[in-house]
């Protein structure tokens, strides 16, 4: 059989000798769904043939139906080797999302931001050092100060985001980047009682209009 388009890219990105189907396994807590990872899953499916599955670990019970059905239906007649990537989401009682890859000597990757960085990198976009680092620093700010900070910290971060969005339509550069995906998902989940400033509201609307965000908004409804 002829190789699928995109296979060579994954070989280059990941190194060659890792077996036919690369399996990404993500453990996540249903009380805090990792929205940004669902957006990235959607982007990966545009680029690769992804075999997506959802499981429930015995450590959690009563996972809501919309979380069990968070991946769209896919063709069940295809066999495993027709796919380039396996993406398995396991709802489990973990303090923070964890990712395991089908390689023994790799340590589990913890943290939604770190997993998001990895999944986005699979899409193979090149960035200059300043842009790449700016994206990383927004992700850290979103996850730690907005996601886990006090209300005072949240207000301060929202103010910083608002100021950045007053200068350009997206957080880094002229186009939507991983910084927008992760930050917007954290705002959606973490802002709570804190008021959302005007530029941030407008930018969230722009994110909402991106097709890869469809699944996330369905989950939040």
């Amino acid at each position: 059989s002829k190789p699928l388009a995109g296979t060579a890219d994954l070989d280059t990105l990941l190194g060659k000798n890792y077996g036919a189907l690369r399996d990404i396994v993500i453990n996540a807590n249903p009380s805090h769904p990792p929205l940004s990872l669902l957006v990235l899953h959607c982007l990966l499916r545009k680029r690769f043939h992804v075999l997506s599955t959802v499981h429930v670990h015995s450590s959690v019970s009563n996972v809501p139906p919309h979380l069990l059905a968070c991946f769209e239906e896919q063709d069940k007649n295809q066999s495993r080797h027709d796919f380039q990537l396996g993406f398995t989401l396991i709802w489990k009682d973990v303090p923070t999302p964890q990712m395991k890859f089908s390689i023994q000597n790799m340590c589990p990757i913890e943290g939604e931001g770190n997993i998001a960085r990895f999944l986005f990198a699979l899409l193979g976009q090149q960035q200059d050092p300043i842009t790449a680092t700016l994206v990383d620093s927004w992700i850290d700010m979103a996850i730690f100060q907005l996601g886990q900070g006090s209300s005072k910290e949240k207000v301060a971060v929202l103010r910083t985001i608002n100021a950045a969005l007053g200068r350009s339509p997206w957080l880094v550069g002229a186009n939507r980047s991983l910084a927008d995906i992760v930050t917007c998902c954290v705002v959606l989940q973490a802002a709570g009682p804190v008021a959302i400033p005007a530029n941030v509201q407008k930018w969230m609307k722009s994110c909402e209009n991106l097709p890869e965000f469809n699944g996330v908004y369905k989950l939040l409804q």
């Binding site: 190194g15 340590c107 913890e110 943290g111 990895f118």
Partner: protein, 169 residues
């Protein structure tokens, strides 16, 4: 091009200083003392946290391969950067066990050479008083102890560690 890394000498960003020292053959970084840690990289862009500073320096100097040789190693390094800033300050709790088992079959934290992961995890331990106590009293978990001592004897770690931490101990 010379970059200027401003460091708060009351709480020196060891990970950033180690990275700057390691890449000095390709990236010229001048060290300046100030109130806040920051690396100015363009007219309107500065990085103020250690993880961003080390990422930027590693990306500026790809020949030193401090950010892994492929995406999997890069993800592991991201994991350890977060681990060092979140789990290795103050009380160490179960973090030491996790680190010890990760190091059980490894010389370096990620891959087969030194990386940002080693710099940042070593730095967080170096300034942690709980770790200092374990280390000096011989209670440190064996694999971390071996790795920590091994790195501490490297030239880069000796010079940065000696210059920036003698006052705090």
């Amino acid at each position: 091009m010379t970059l200027t890394l401003t460091v708060n000498s009351a709480s020196p960003p060891l990970g950033a200083l180690l990275t700057a020292e390691h890449v000095k053959s390709t990236v010229n970084v001048a060290i300046d003392q100030g109130k806040e840690t920051s690396l100015k990289v363009a007219d309107s862009v500065s990085f103020n946290d250690v993880n961003s500073i080390v990422r930027y320096l590693a990306r500026l100097s790809p020949s030193h391969v401090l950010y892994g040789t492929n995406l999997l190693e890069q993800a592991e390094i991201d994991h350890w950067l977060e681990f060092s800033s979140r789990h290795l300050s103050g009380q160490l709790g179960s973090a030491l066990q996790e680190l010890n088992s990760a190091l059980s079959l490894r010389t370096f934290l990620v891959g087969n050479s030194i990386s940002l992961a080693d710099f940042c995890v070593w730095s967080s331990l170096k300034v942690n008083s709980t770790w200092q106590k374990y280390f000096s009293e011989g209670q440190a978990p064996c694999h971390i102890k071996r790795w920590f001592s091994f790195l501490s004897n490297h030239e880069v770690f000796k010079s940065v560690g000696g210059k920036w931490t003698c006052a705090s101990v």
